[in-house]
């Protein structure tokens, strides 16, 4: 039976550690890449479509935010130093991104409602 439940409370595991994230902050791209559909014509209206894949977009992306806690900041340092060697698992959709690198340099907001936004890119999600 089809499940129509919105996934709004995903489980995130980074390097085998469960991460507490800010609700509604998680997003991902599977890395299957962008495509263009280009027409080609043999004349007289005989047109076919050609699919062109942009391999520059064949990379996974995972974004999430965490609260500005001592633990989160320590984890952020670890992950940032671990270029190309982080593994991110999205439990709710059963997808994994290997060889992940944190591509942004997160701003740490030391305020009462401060968050740390992190963005990773890596291999296509599998």
């Amino acid at each position: 039976m089809t499940d129509f439940t919105q996934i709004s409370d995903p489980e995130i595991v980074v390097n085998d550690i469960t991460v507490f994230v800010v609700p509604d902050s998680v997003m991902y791209k599977s890395g299957k890449g962008e495509r263009k559909v280009l027409p080609q014509s043999a004349g007289n209206g005989n047109v076919q479509q050609v699919v062109s894949r942009d391999v520059n977009t064949f990379k996974g992306m995972v974004k999430f935010s965490v609260r500005s806690t001592t633990e989160s900041i320590a984890l952020k340092e670890q992950w940032q130093n671990n270029e190309g060697a982080n593994v991110i698992e999205l439990g709710s959709v059963n997808l994994t991104m290997n060889n992940a690198t944190m591509i942004n340099d997160p701003e740490i907001n030391l305020t009462s409602d401060g968050v740390v936004e992190m963005e990773f890119e890596g291999a296509q999600l599998i």
């Binding site: 060697a85 060889n99 890596g122």
Partner: protein
Amino acid sequence: MKTEFTFTLTSPVTYKPDNSGEQSETSTLTLKAPTNKQRTQRNKLKQYVLQSMFERQEKIQDSESLKNLQDEVDTDKLKKAEDMTDEEIERQGEILVMSLYGSKMVDSNVLIEEFLVLLQQVCFLEKDKNITKPVFEKMTPDDTDRLLGAYLVNFIRLS
């Protein structure tokens, strides 16, 4: 006296190795003996084992079965884990785990939670890499029960 043993899972688990950016699979876990740092969890498991045995003792009527059960808690008569074969450890572990699950005094969910807290300190996927809750959750329940049985036989039963 044994200070560690190796356990083989029937279903491998995936984890992130320390020196790699990709997930890997393993079937081999290394388990170390508890220290005082794990005293709370070790004592809780030991309590559960003894409670289940005493409960069984109360229910047994014939002297033969009662003697067999008393031999199970008589530490002078029990074989040490280092003198047992893997099959004997597995069989003994099965009996202990079945007793625990069959005991009214043991909450099986609390049992596994305490075991998980212990495992995160004494169970290694590779050198210096402890098992974590997300990796533990990938194990099958049968492997978890076998692992619990093996740990009880090796380090809790006679301690």
